[in-house]
């Protein structure tokens, strides 16, 4: 999954350098949401913050 997110951002960067700002922003949005959902998926364990 993280490989796909990296790939999406990489493509967004290449698209931006090519001059297509709108498409690049759209790809960034998709990859940001995917990254946020993936972080939520990994925040499943309980935090122990004191002894």
């Amino acid at each position: 999954m993280t490989a796909l997110i990296f790939l999406l951002v990489g493509v967004a960067m290449i698209v931006a350098v090519a001059g297509h700002r709108g498409t690049a922003l759209g790809l960034f949005g998709v990859s940001f949401v995917a990254a946020a959902l993936w972080l939520r998926h990994h925040m499943d364990s309980v935090l122990n913050l004191s002894l």
Partner: protein, 186 residues
């Protein structure tokens, strides 16, 4: 002042690429595989760099800075979560310490530094580059600015490859012991 802001954005993009390459160096040098939260911190770094890259290519704009700040806050969430997982004495740590701090702590400091750096660039920036034509912005995208952007793209794609080699198409192990791709190699 505009050229100083452009240099700051190039340094931001190149700095993030260098941080990702240092992480690679430690991964291969110390033979310590990144955990899922560590990889998500690398994702956040790449997302931060995207805002700098847009500023280099299309001119400095508040929208681009906003994307970098959002990504840095995402990074603070991922790194902060990992710091909190290990904050109680005796709860262990993940990976080796570098200059007394673990990588996730350095990562948290880096994301706060990105927010501070973006704030400085916005203060120095003055008038946004909205009025420049795309042709003008494209003409100014050369030299060190172009190099910083390409370095960031290369670091991002290298991370995609590394992440696939380590985790495969789905999910990384919590405590990774080897590369997923090694199962399919002779």
């Amino acid at each position: 002042m505009t050229s100083l802001v452009r240099l700051g954005n190039a340094m931001g993009a190149a700095g993030i690429a260098v941080a990702l390459l240092v992480a690679f160096g430690l991964q291969f040098g110390l033979k310590e595989l990144p955990c899922p939260l560590c990889i998500l911190q690398r994702v956040a770094l790449v997302l931060c760099g995207f805002g700098f890259l847009l500023n280099l290519r299309f001119g400095a704009q508040p929208l681009h800075y906003g994307l970098s700040i959002l990504a840095a806050l995402f990074g603070v969430a991922a790194a902060g979560r990992q710091v909190l997982l290990h904050i109680v004495p005796g709860s262990g740590a993940y990976g080796s310490a570098i200059m007394g701090l673990h990588l996730y702590t350095w990562s948290l400091i880096l994301f706060v530094a990105v927010v501070a750096g973006v704030a400085l660039l916005m203060i120095m920036g003055g008038r946004p580059d909205h009025d420049r034509s795309d042709h003008q912005a494209a003409m100014r995208f050369r030299g060190i600015h172009r190099f910083a952007a390409y370095l960031l793209i290369a670091a991002t794609l290298a991370n995609a490859l590394n992440s696939f080699a380590q985790c495969g198409p789905v999910e990384c192990a919590d405590n990774p012991a080897g590369y997923w791709v090694a199962k399919y190699l002779p």
